[in-house]
Subunit: 408 residues, 2 copies
């Protein structure tokens, strides 16, 4: 009997369950479990009735292309709508520079396929987004980690790591960054560092992949829109910029986009064709109509307000119940609280206790490409309600107490 | 100034415009052009009102997961619905063996990523589907072509090509096949050959990727459902089977599926995560509801009937206007007429004349991995109306007359 497992490619052998486990999604969420694991937006905030109206119009059959195959680049009016979003972020771009993707995850993957040969060095922050790790791992990249400061990637460590790779005869191909309210650290990259990084990338002929799903989710009193200015706004030649509607509208539509120099976009179009032909026309048209009707623009202040209050609720309960044991920095936006555990306690053993208490989170080590992070956990405050947040933190406190009793 | 084009990977260098041009989609379709180029289903046959009703229900907001992220494997009820479709095709499968993809194109791509290392030999029919060529090319496969007979892939040539690769020290990793009403040849692989191929694959430890978008589109009087029995039904161990709802429901939803041994599906799940996290929940739920309400089952006989009559209309007009110059075999199902040009006429020069006459098709050479096919063209009868078919063939006759006058 033949066994297909003997036919795996090098990529296929790397694509195993450990890749999925990093995403924290192997734990069932049924029952009255509280999940701080899933970095999901709050589905109560999706504009259900407006999307219902939009979709009813689209499915009236007046325009037969709504359910048809579409252009590989994407639905042209949607790309034009995205140009207005980019303009509001300080980026003047043209139709030739944008391509629609299946969420920003596909943006990471297509960029990686276009740029990364096996063994090429990719720099990623310590910590960083596991979905991007998965894409680079599957392409057999050599991934090197770069430390973070409170205001984003450490420029000193960046130089050190770059020099070390250079000295080993392995030039650095690209740098992956989530500058705004990073997943998982919540950190905001300072404007000074952004400017520096453009110079740095040009000087070192290194491509920056700027993944920006959380840029519009800055919190009043903590950060301003100006502070989220994309690196890309000042470095169009060396940056591939990734955006998404998953956080600002709904992830179930799977619509994101990439901005890159036009000759690169033409190749991305071929990569998109090989990957899945084109993104769904129905989803693309729903998103386009939501932009044109002002749904996304009207929703944004509400999202910023609701998530800010959830952050506050989680911090308040954490301070009250666990302030003596845990440390974290207040995120200025986004979905995540990045928490340092007390000594004598590791992410994985705490997760075991937490599951017993019916609360889950993602282990810190899932976000590290260097085996570190076992003294960290990521708590997402975006999806649970205020009462779930309070209940979940109480359970976490019980889990931590049990873990510390045990470890003594 | 930095130029990203200098940072391309080997894959990135292969992903250029020629890959897209193969799909015949670089020609604008505006004006009163008749397109026999696009292998699109007829959008008048999409069940608009039923999909409108289904979607209105889903967007009522009762179930908040409709617009949320979903499982990487896919929406579980949809996978269960697909198991019933597979059962009707003679395949008994379980939940662990299926994963949802963004159309069957993503199925080809994920399978290729999981199995193909650079230089690995992939066998493809002469001619074959350009989207699959793109996926294998982007992975730097060595592609070898195998001739077809009237009843599908030539078993003699398969053995010859296999031996030649073996003799050159390059074992064959996989064989890509579209057994039912192949794109572009329209050919139906005989049941005897299907049985033989299972043995052959087992004996040679070669994986078969069976791409089956047209299997349900057999035409009354030409073929029966029994004749489309998947290879996979008799060779589960060596076959990865790809299905799609693009032809039987609507391509704008971008929902397909893969059937593979469970250990392979677990790795495909990691590949799916790296590629785009998961397929859109809204689309998945629309398709699932359409299956459960019987929409797809009720629609199928209509689709078979409408496309059969379009085939008849195209053949009738062709016989009348060009019967003395062109040759083709009557396809027993599917979307395509595969036409041999008279000597003194090549696919590309005829296309130039055809565009002048406002009719387009895909050049035969787009479907060949060995540089051949310049005496062939593919005419899709699926999307145009009967009157467009007649008008388009008349224009094609004018283009051919001009071309033959010129070439004399």
């Amino acid at each position: 009997m033949m066994d297909l497992a003997h036919s795996l490619s090098a990529t296929g052998r790397r694509l195993n369950e450990s890749v999925i486990r990093r995403m924290g999604s192997v734990i069932p969420t049924q029952g009255n479990l509280v999940s701080f694991a899933h970095g999901f937006p709050d589905s109560r905030l999706f504009p259900w009735s407006e999307l219902g109206e939009i979709t009813a119009g689209l499915l009236s059959g007046v325009d037969s292309t709504t359910l048809q195959y579409g252009e590989m680049r994407g639905y042209k009016p949607l790309i034009e709508s995205i140009l207005t979003i980019l303009a509001a972020r300080g980026i003047t771009a043209s139709y030739e520079e944008v391509i629609i993707t299946c969420g920003a995850q596909q943006g990471v993957d297509l960029a990686a396929r276009l740029l990364v040969d096996p063994g090429d060095v990719v720099l990623m922050e310590l910590p960083t987004y596991p979905g991007a790790i998965a894409s680079f791992v599957s392409l057999q990249a050599t991934i090197a980690g770069v430390e973070q400061d409170d205001d984003g990637i450490s420029l000193e460590d960046l130089e050190t790591v770059w020099r070390r790779q250079q000295a080993n005869g392995r030039p650095v191909k690209l740098l992956y960054l989530v500058p705004n309210f990073q997943n998982p650290s919540g950190r905001l990259l300072s404007l000074e560092k952004r400017k520096y990084l453009v110079d740095w990338a040009e000087r070192h002929s290194t491509v920056i992949i700027e993944d920006d799903p959380y840029g519009s989710l800055y919190f009043e009193g903590s950060a301003t829109g100006e502070e989220t200015r994309p690196i890309c706004a000042d470095g169009r030649e060396c940056v591939i910029y990734l955006g998404s509607f998953s956080k600002m509208l709904a992830p179930g539509l799977r619509i994101g986009w990439m901005l890159a120099p036009a000759p690169i976009v033409r190749r991305l179009e071929a990569a998109k064709m090989a990957a899945d032909l084109n993104s769904g026309m129905l989803s693309q048209r729903i998103v386009d109509a939501a932009i044109r009707r002002g749904v996304i623009g009207r929703l944004a202040p509400t999202l910023r307000d609701v998530y800010r209050r959830k952050r506050d609720a989680m911090e308040q309960t954490l301070r009250h119940e666990l302030g003596h044991l845990l440390r974290w920095s207040t995120p200025k936006g986004g979905f995540f609280l990045w928490v340092t555990l007390p000594s004598g306690c590791t992410d994985r053993s705490l997760l075991g206790r937490a599951i017993e208490q019916r609360v889950i989170f993602v282990t810190g080590s899932a976000f590290y490409v260097d085996g570190g992070g076992h003294n960290k956990i990521r708590l997402s405050f975006s999806a649970p309600s205020h009462s779930q947040i309070r209940r979940g933190i109480t359970r976490l406190a019980a889990a931590l107490a049990a873990e510390l009793r045990h470890s003594v």
